[in-house]
């Protein structure tokens, strides 16, 4: 019954940072930018931990990137994951390359479940999970969520949002999609990508952080895995988005109404 779960984490610019384009359009300004785990991946890690706590098993955290990506793996280990795998790759990461590498990791680890964030907040592609599922021929449950509030009793008790069947072989996924709520039942192994409100990720405790330092963190070299590492999504130029002019304040509802009704004529 024990589940072996692979969770992917990506090192990204802190979403609170102000991201600016370099004047020559060759990239973004990284001076003074902080880095952290992609917020959707934190949700994936939390969900993996809850499933393990409810049903037993192992949570393996995988990241792809330079040596600094070890920081994000350690952060997941501090939350309670069991061990980490860092696939070293200093080249550009696009969903085609990422999924090619993850296919190799999945072949090595043979998990029952692969959890990813639905998208990373740097390139905002929302593709890696779907590519991975397609390449492995596995069923996919994208944008997994739950309908209960994050203030609910189940959430307080850290009940997993993903429901494992009694036989441990199938997983129920709830997705809030356009126009309603869909429930899918996926046989394992499966790929699930995590959306907001699947759970509220825990903070690492001090003992958790201490323990994380002693947990196994294995390094693999992407170049030796046999995956095609040729970038297929290549940014030719970065641009500043057109700025929106605003900033006018009105004194009261009377003035607001006049502006909307007589000036903008939108009501």
């Amino acid at each position: 019954m024990a589940l072996k779960i692979v969770v992917t984490v990506k090192r990204v610019e802190d979403p609170e940072s102000k991201i600016r384009v370099k004047p020559d359009g060759s990239g973004i300004v990284t001076d003074g930018v902080n880095y952290k785990m992609n917020p959707f991946d934190e949700i994936a890690v939390e969900e993996g931990l809850r499933l393990k706590e409810a049903h037993g098993g192992e949570v393996v955290v995988v990241s792809i990137g330079g040596e600094k990506s070890a920081t994000e793996i350690r952060a997941a280990l501090a939350m309670g994951a069991d061990r980490g795998v860092l696939v070293r790759h200093d080249g550009p990461l696009d969903p085609v390359v990422v999924s090619a590498i993850l296919v190799k990791v999945v072949e090595l680890e043979k998990p029952d479940l692969i959890l990813l964030g639905k998208q990373s907040i740097d390139d905002d592609q929302n593709q890696a999970g779907q590519y991975l599922a397609a390449r492995l021929g596995l069923p996919q449950g994208t944008f997994a969520s739950k309908t209960e509030s994050l203030e609910s009793e189940a959430e307080q008790k850290k009940v997993p949002g993903l429901k494992l069947a009694a036989d441990g072989k199938r997983l129920e996924v709830v997705r809030e999609i356009d126009g309603g709520v869909e429930t899918l039942d996926l046989p394992l192994p499966a790929v699930v990508t995590c959306d907001l409100r699947l759970n509220k990720p825990r903070f690492a405790s001090l003992p958790g952080i201490m323990k994380a330092k002693k947990k196994e963190l294995k390094e693999l070299q992407a170049a030796t895995l046999g995956a095609d590492l040729t970038p297929r999504v290549v940014v030719k130029k970065y641009l500043e988005p057109p700025a929106r002019k605003g900033g006018l304040k009105v004194a009261d509802v009377e003035e607001l109404w006049k502006k909307l009704h007589e000036e903008a004529k939108v009501v």
Binding site: Y131, E176, D178, V181, L186, R197, K236, P241, G247, A264
Partner: protein, 318 residues
């Protein structure tokens, strides 16, 4: 010649409006590449919806089968892939809806295609199409080259016009071989609403942390204006609003005539989803809230006082 295949989407037997924008994008691409425009619609009981798309001038392929009734990427992707191969499609596109974002990358992977998500414009010169798309929550736009023979994309519906009418295109039935899915489709619970769809509404009234979970004044104003309701990530996280109300880079992108942000601070993530609105009104107790920087009209005040007063004006003004 580069043929274009657009995946349209049917919901309850009707084509979603977002798909008309995707076909509009397909028309641009077909014109630029000199290829033919094809549209595929998958589902069950969608023959009439398929016929309605022929007015766009595209060749419409209707895959109407029991096995496609559930909108599963696992079953829809192989049908799209087989069709794309038989048409020699160079471009595979869809609208960036929940269905489009679930299905298109799966189909792209099976076609060895790279993909660009939430494309806002086709840039570049001639046949060398670059896909312009937002990154970092819309802080940055990037012109992206896809280095694969087949190129896949989803478009942001607010950035493309709906398809224009053309000489009626041909409607063809797809003899789809639908594989039995591993996924069991358990249920779909429709969230019934009298309000317009968020992405299609002329007016959107959105709430954030400042609502403290009480959306009633927002609902009343939205209903008086025939608008839809939206929410910030904070409100969705708290469980005050469903995920499909979330406006932002990771949620819905909207561009209504009027966007009322009530009790929303204006995190960049949220702004990315609504800054294309024609008129933005911000109501917030905090005069320093970043939302005021992009709002056309900002009112510092308590939304529980301001919204009912505004509602009274709306009712009196009509």
């Amino acid at each position: 010649m580069s043929n274009v295949l657009i995946i349209a989407e049917a919901f309850k037997g009707q084509v979603r409006r977002a798909s008309l924008h995707a076909i509009g994008a397909g028309q641009q691409l077909a014109k630029r590449s000199g290829g033919a425009l094809h549209v595929v619609l998958l589902g069950k009981g969608i023959a009439e919806a398929g016929k309605s798309l022929a007015a766009t001038g595209a060749t419409v392929h209707v895959a109407d089968a029991e096995g496609l009734a559930a909108p599963l990427a696992e079953t829809h992707a192989p049908v799209v892939v087989a069709l794309a191969k038989s048409l020699g499609a160079t471009y595979l596109g869809a609208a960036a809806t929940a269905y489009g974002k679930d299905l298109t990358p799966r189909a792209a992977a099976l076609l060895d295609a790279a993909m660009a998500t939430e494309v806002t414009a086709f840039a570049g010169e001639g046949a060398a199409v670059l896909f312009r798309r937002p990154m970092w929550a819309g802080n940055v736009l990037a012109d992206v080259e896809l280095g694969t023979a087949v190129k896949a994309f989803t478009i942001r519906p607010t950035e493309y016009p709906q398809a224009t009418a053309g000489a009626a295109g041909e409607v063809k039935a797809v003899a789809a071989e639908v594989p039995a899915p591993k996924t069991r489709y358990v249920s779909f619970q429709e969230v019934k609403s009298e309000r317009p769809e968020l992405t299609e509404a002329r007016v959107v009234v959105a709430g954030g942390r400042g609502t403290k979970g009480d959306f009633k004044p927002l609902e009343a104003l939205a209903d008086a204006l025939g608008g839809a309701l939206g929410a910030s990530r904070a409100a969705v996280d708290a469980g005050w609003a469903p995920n499909d109300w979330q406006v932002g880079q990771t949620g819905k992108v909207v561009a209504p005539d009027l966007y009322v942000a009530a009790g929303i601070s204006g995190a960049i993530q949220h702004v990315a989803g609504m800054k294309g609105s024609k008129v933005i009104v911000a109501i917030n107790k905090d005069p320093e809230a970043p939302i005021f920087q992009i709002a056309d009209y900002g009112l510092v005040g308590d939304l529980f006082k301001v919204l009912p007063e505004l509602l009274a004006k709306v009712k009196a003004g009509h």
